[in-house]
């Protein structure tokens, strides 16, 4: 208990110190930029040398250098033709394959290495392309609409709905949904709020259950039981979301009508389903974190006469608390990104939840807005959907980066303590 409290305090302190660190980073920015400019020529030369070393080795024959150059030119031609004039792509592709075949015969090691470099570059390029094309498509509506994209819908009397006093900042939307891109009312606020509600419910389900499940697998279960239950959790992760969606669509909605006298689809049921879907992520990541706690720490507690449960409560969980929070963050990311189950369960609703915390209401989320509206969308609508995509991308990628940062720090800490 004390362990957790002190950990949380430390975490809070770090969090509070973040603005300060950011400020000092900001202050130092001009100086570092100047430094960057002065170092630039040197760095470029170093980078060029490093690239040369990676691609051609320190002392290669002229043929090998030529081979590398030819491959680079061919690959560049493939990328450029695909980007600009995709019908021409097959030609450089054939040339590329030919050069690879020739190179493989005579300079296998060099060719193989260059190919692995290209594979890496391709992977990085994929990420760059995804980011670039999402933002490029979303740029026009972002400039055109600005804050209109988050306009607050109105109620029946035509007054702006209450939304955390944000009506000082956000404009007033049109109608009860604010979603009418044909007539330039592209508010994504209802969908974003729906995402928030579904994610909160899902986290309430997946967080505690996932932590208990992870404790069970990591600390309590015997080897045989662990071998049975770990695959079960993984298989739970493998069930496609559309299958969950179909169950929700075909069965759970009528259950809701019966048990909650509800019109049918609701945030509650969508949140529960998404929570179950996020559960395996939380379990497996949290389990990794708990298992990573060095055995020596636990043995110390046991040697002091503590029971297993005391050890778990006071040693393992506090030591792994950052990893566990990373697990919950990743679970939240999974819940935010979940599309098909939500789309299948809450296809009908488009309104802003009314009242805001009514978990029996229904509304499309950001993801299901994209999935449902894409087929029949006009070009303006399409662009707005890309804004939704960008929002999702930033939130989930950000969550992932934060989780990785936490995990890395946990690794260092445990290494230091072990």
């Amino acid at each position: 208990m004390d362990g957790i409290v002190s950990r949380l305090e430390a975490g809070l302190a770090t969090l509070l110190a973040l603005p300060l660190r950011f400020m000092s980073w900001l202050v130092g920015l001009p100086r570092r930029f100047a430094q960057f400019l002065t170092d630039l020529p040197h760095n470029i030369r170093a980078a060029a040398l490093a690239t040369k070393r990676v691609l051609f080795g320190a002392d290669s024959a002229l043929e090998e250098v030529l081979l590398g150059l030819a491959l680079i030119v061919a690959l560049g031609a493939i990328v450029f033709t695909f980007l600009l004039q995709s019908a021409l792509t097959p030609y450089p592709l054939v040339v590329f394959i030919g050069i690879v075949a020739l190179g493989w015969r005579s300079y296998q090691a060099r060719t193989a290495k260059i190919l692995t470099v290209f594979a890496t570059a391709g992977t990085v390029l994929t990420l760059a392309f995804i980011t670039y094309f999402l933002f490029e498509k979303a740029w026009t509506p972002l400039v055109d609409f600005g804050l209109e994209l988050l306009a607050i819908p109105v109620n029946e009397q035509g007054q702006t709905r209450w939304f955390f006093w944000l009506d000082f900042i956000l404009p007033q939307g049109e109608g009860q949904t604010g979603w009418d891109p044909h007539n330039n009312h592209p508010s994504l606020l209802a969908a974003a709020w729906a995402t928030v509600v579904v994610t909160v419910i899902a986290t309430l389900v997946a967080g505690p259950l996932g932590l208990l499940g992870a404790l069970f697998i990591a600390e309590i279960a015997s080897d045989g039981l662990r071998e049975a239950i770990k695959p079960a959790v993984e298989i739970l992760a493998g069930i496609p979301s559309i299958v969950y969606g179909f169950i929700g669509f075909a069965v759970l909605n009528s259950f809701m009508q019966d048990a909650f006298l509800d019109a049918g689809a609701s945030f509650l049921i969508a949140g529960l389903v998404v929570g179950i879907m996020a559960l395996p992520t939380v379990v497996s990541v949290a389990e990794d974190a708990i298992t990573a706690v060095p055995k020596s720490m636990r043995d110390g507690a046991i040697a002091m006469g503590a029971t297993e449960w005391q050890t778990m409560k006071s040693i393992s969980v506090p030591a792994a608390i950052s990893g566990i929070s990373a697990a919950v963050i990743l679970g939240i990311g999974r819940a935010i990104g979940e599309t098909m189950a939500v789309a299948a369960i809450m296809a009908g609703g488009t309104t802003f939840a009314r009242p805001l915390f009514d978990i029996f209401d229904q509304s499309v989320t950001l993801t299901s807005r994209i999935a449902i509206s894409y087929g029949s969308a006009s070009s303006t609508t399409l662009e707005v959907l890309f804004v939704a995509g960008v929002m999702l991308f930033i939130i989930v990628a950000g969550a992932s980066i934060v989780a990785q940062y936490i995990e890395r720090r946990l690794g260092h800490e445990l290494e230091a303590e072990a």
Binding site: V54, T120, T123, G213, L215, G238, A250, K313, T339
Partner: protein
């Protein structure tokens, strides 16, 4: 460790057995009420069940529990599955006693399920309260701490807050004062009770109060079936008794089990441990139950429709079963344990699959010989064209037709070839090396290479490349010559074993080279002959039958004889000879399977069935599975199936894998083996991890914005393949990196110390060692993308009832100008399994729910098969790694 902890000794002294038994029974009772709460929540059992129905339900439960505990008890008594923990025994007995009591009670008194659950909670509360008092007054030996602890206090305060709010809001009326007031009073009261008293009474009193209150509310019907509560005037929904009662029961059971377990272990540190463990166990049970019930539910809903009109010939069924038989055989060969009873039990489990398959195959052979059929008739419901439900008759049928389709033979045979070749390993350098055989080996290789070029020329330029009518003049004699040469080689392999004076084992060892060249050469030449036959359209005949399959059959028999001879010789051979002979029998079996596959290949390519006596290889075969093998039939009497979706998913997965695996594995090699570990690699790692967790629908948007404009500006399967490939890429990269990293550094050092270059080390040492991990990662990744729906909706929206499957293989056309290969089919959209399910949802009332369930089941089977294979492979390789 935990079990040992639970079972180390009776924690409470022997005089207080009554206390132990009572609490064990209470723990069992809380487990029963927990399960009943789950069952009533999902409406597997109605809360209104009463009288005879309820009594029957409990008798049914009692029978189940008697069976379960009986078999465990029996095996425990036999010492096969020893259960030594006193608490586990106690809870098991408690379960039995509780269910007998419940069954008796419901049989005697007219009760409804809700009332009964309330009473059960009240009983739990009474026993737990009594136990606390017994400890307080010192009737039993316990070791309570001074307080129940902050965690328990906080938890009870929170629960009290919620219960108080609920009671205030519902029973006293929804005024805000009563609402908040009662919440705060009850919350603080619970926390104070828990924290202020000694641990025994501080635990049991709040537990008994809470559980008892919940039980009384339910038992008196204050909250019953007809009860509803609307949280606010403008809220859509309301809470009904149907939901609240099970939730109350679940809450009461969890709290009750915690309190009872704590009391059972005598409070203190041990009591807290038992209490916490029981809660965590119940949670784990719930997670597994959720998983099992989802899979079981979809199966139960979809299986009838999915198997409508399923028919299979007995011979086809046998062919399908052969790979399974081989796997079961492999499983049964694994070594047994030593302890006598354990060994007996394990041996039984090991041979059980083989025995079951054996009897199944025998049944099929009986059908084949006797000419009878086996059928299970059933009915299924269709919504034809979305109008109304219609019930159709169907059956699961096994006929006695001795015909097999080519596809089945190729798949089953291909698996066998792969499996036996893995067991075969290599025979290079074994036995005497003969110059003539070596030169034959070289000539066979050269011939196959040359003919491959000829085949290419024929494929691209037509039957008369560059004006020379090669196909018509040379085709038939060439094919005949090739297949005869193949036959000669395989016969030579058999002959080398048969001819000679010394024992067969010695011959097998000495002439290993002839065997190897004979069987591999025979296979190679016959495959070339079959392909040449196809492109040159020249089929040499012997009377009414074609030459190639005939020769393949003879060669298969020869190969099989090699396998049998060497296996027989290996029984009494020395260890060194035995090992070689075992390999040779593996080679022989692989060859036999391979020659049968060639015969099937011939049938598939020429389109002429091949029969030998009563048995034949047909083009269509006798397996008919309308759900998987037919497209939708518009306006038909029977609805057909979802073949286009199945084919679409297969091609999507293949395309994604072809794109992602080389890129991902290549990048993983570079990042792990070549690149210096530093900022750049860390950055790439962070980027790929973020890419992995990016929502799938965002990948869909990217595919729609980036790929579609560049691939013919329309939705196409190629765009779908690449989009799924982008999703697969980070997964392959991450898992491959982990696998390559986990290869011990000693391997690389040892290789470098031998003077091997870096690339050779990577190729011959690191990659083979990392391969299992890489393959497992790829399989799990494919399982994930195979079920992805969202990106496919954006790049490849399928229609609900497609009537035609995409023909990717047939779409390949060779053209005489760059890029030489062109495929129209890749630029068309197709249905896929996930989009098929989505289409049913999107169609609303006009969709057919039964078909939706069946499609969901097929999708689930496909995806979970990938997962199961991946997980099994991982466990297998991990075990192998640990043993080494």
């Amino acid at each position: 460790m935990s079990e040992g902890y639970v079972g180390d000794r009776a924690l409470v002294s022997t005089e207080s057995n009554f206390y132990d038994w009572g609490l064990d029974a209470t723990i069992a009772l809380t487990i029963v009420s927990f399960l009943l709460g789950l069952l009533t929540l999902v409406r597997a059992v109605s809360l209104g069940t009463s009288g005879v129905a309820l009594a029957e339900f409990f008798q049914f439960l009692l029978v189940l529990v008697v069976g379960a505990i009986g078999i465990v008890g029996l095996f425990s008594w036999l010492n096969v599955v020893p259960v030594t923990a006193t608490r586990v025994r106690g809870v098991g007995l408690g379960l039995l006693v509780d269910l007998v009591a419940l069954a008796a009670l419901t049989a005697m008194v007219e009760l409804s399920m809700a009332t009964l659950l309330g009473l059960v909670l009240v009983v739990q509360a009474l026993i737990i309260g009594t136990a606390g008092l017994a400890s307080w007054f010192g009737f039993v030996d316990t070791e309570p701490s001074s307080t129940a602890g902050l965690l328990a206090g906080a938890a009870f305060g929170l629960v009290g807050l919620l219960v108080g709010a609920a009671l205030g809001g519902t029973l006293l009326g929804g005024g805000s004062l009563a609402y908040y007031g009662s919440a705060i009073v009850v919350g603080i009261g619970f926390a104070a009770l828990t924290l202020g008293l000694r641990e025994d009474i501080g635990t049991t009193l709040p537990v008994a109060l809470l559980v008892g209150t919940l039980g009384l509310i339910i038992a008196t019907g204050a909250i019953g079936l007809g009860w509803t509560w609307k949280p606010g005037p403008r809220i859509d929904g309301a809470f009904t008794g149907q939901v609240v009662v099970p939730l109350f029961v679940l809450l009461g059971s969890i709290v009750g089990s915690w309190g009872a377990a704590k009391s059972r272990a005598g409070y203190g540190a041990r009591g807290r441990q038992y209490g916490a463990y029981l809660t965590i166990y119940l949670n784990a049970v719930m997670i597994v139950a959720i998983m099992v019930s989802i899979v079981a539910f979809v199966t139960q809903k979809g299986i009838i429709y999915a198997f409508h009109g399923f028919t299979i010939g007995a011979l086809s069924a046998i062919v399908v079963l052969t790979p399974l038989v081989v796997l079961a055989l492999n499983f049964a060969r694994s070594k047994a344990g030593t302890n006598e009873w354990h060994a007996g039990a394990r041996q039984f489990i090991r041979i059980a699959p083989l025995a079951a398959l054996g009897s199944l195959v025998a049944l099929l052979v009986f059908l084949l010989v006797s000419g009878e059929t086996f059928d299970i008739p059933f009915t299924y419901t269709v919504w034809i064209e979305g109008r109304q439900a219609e019930v159709l008759d169907s059956a699961f049928l096994i006929t006695s037709e001795p015909t097999v389709g080519t596809l089945l033979v190729v798949f089953a045979g291909g698996f066998l070839v792969w499996y036996f070749l893995r067991r075969y390993g290599s025979l290079r350098g074994v036995g005497t090396r003969r110059d003539r055989v070596t030169s034959i080996e070289r000539w066979v290789g050269l011939t196959i290479g040359a003919l491959f070029l000829l085949v290419l020329a024929l494929a691209v330029e037509g039957k008369a490349p560059f004006g020379v009518p090669v196909a018509t003049t040379l085709g038939t004699p060439l094919v005949a010559l090739l297949s005869l040469a193949g036959l000669g080689l395989s016969i030579a392999a058999l002959g080398s074993l048969l001819v000679g004076d010394d024992p067969v084992a010695n011959r097998g060892y000495d002439r290993a080279q002839i065997l190897r060249v004979g069987i591999f050469g025979g296979l190679g030449l016959l495959v070339t002959a079959t392909v040449l036959e196809h492109v040159a359209a020249a089929t040499p005949m012997v009377g009414p039958t074609s030459l190639v399959p005939l020769i393949a059959t003879v060669a298969a028999v020869a190969s099989l004889s090699v396998a049998v001879l060497t296996a027989a010789a290996a029984r009494s051979a020395s260890t060194e000879f035995g090992r070689v002979l075992n390999r040779e029998s593996g080679l022989g079996l692989a060859g036999a399977a391979g020659f049968v596959v060639i015969a099937a290949l011939h049938v598939a390519l020429t389109g002429v069935p091949f029969s030998l006596g009563p048995v034949s290889i047909g083009i269509t075969g006798t397996l008919s599975w309308p759900m998987l093998m037919q497209a939708y039939i518009p306006l038909g009497a029977e609805p057909g199936g979802i073949l286009p979706a199945v084919v679409g998913t297969v091609w999507l997965v293949v395309g994604a894998a072809i794109f992602a695996i080389p890129l991902g594995v290549g990048a993983a090699i570079f990042l792990t083996e070549y690149a210096e570990q530093g900022r750049i690699t860390a950055l790439v790692e962070i980027a790929t991890n973020s890419l992995w967790s990016t929502p799938s629908v965002v990948f869909g948007l990217f595919g729609a914005a980036f790929l579609i404009p560049r691939l013919g500006s329309k939705e196409s399967i190629l765009a779908g393949m690449l989009t799924l490939g982008f999703m697969l890429l980070p997964l392959v990269l991450i898992t491959s990196r982990e696998a390559i990293k986990s290869v011990p550094t000693e391997y690389r050092d040892a290789s470098a110390a031998l003077g091997v270059s870096q690339w050779e080390t990577v190729k011959s040492v690191v990659l083979p060692a990392a391969l299992p991990g890489v393959i497992t990662g790829v399989i799990l990744g494919i399982g994930r993308v195979a079920g992805e729906t969202a990106p496919l909706i954006l790049v490849m929206s399928g229609t609900l009832n497609s009537t035609q499957a995409i023909d990717v293989l047939g779409g390949f056309q060779f053209i005489a100008e760059p890029p030489f290969i062109y495929n129209e089919a890749l630029l068309e959209a197709t249905a896929a399994l996930p989009t098929q399910v989505w289409a049913v949802i999107a169609a609303g009332v006009s969709g057919s729910p039964s078909m939706g369930w069946a499609s969901a089941l097929i999708l689930l089977i496909v995806v979970l098969t990938f997962y199961a294979v991946g997980i099994i492979m991982r466990t297998f390789f991990r075990r192998k790694l640990n043993h080494e």
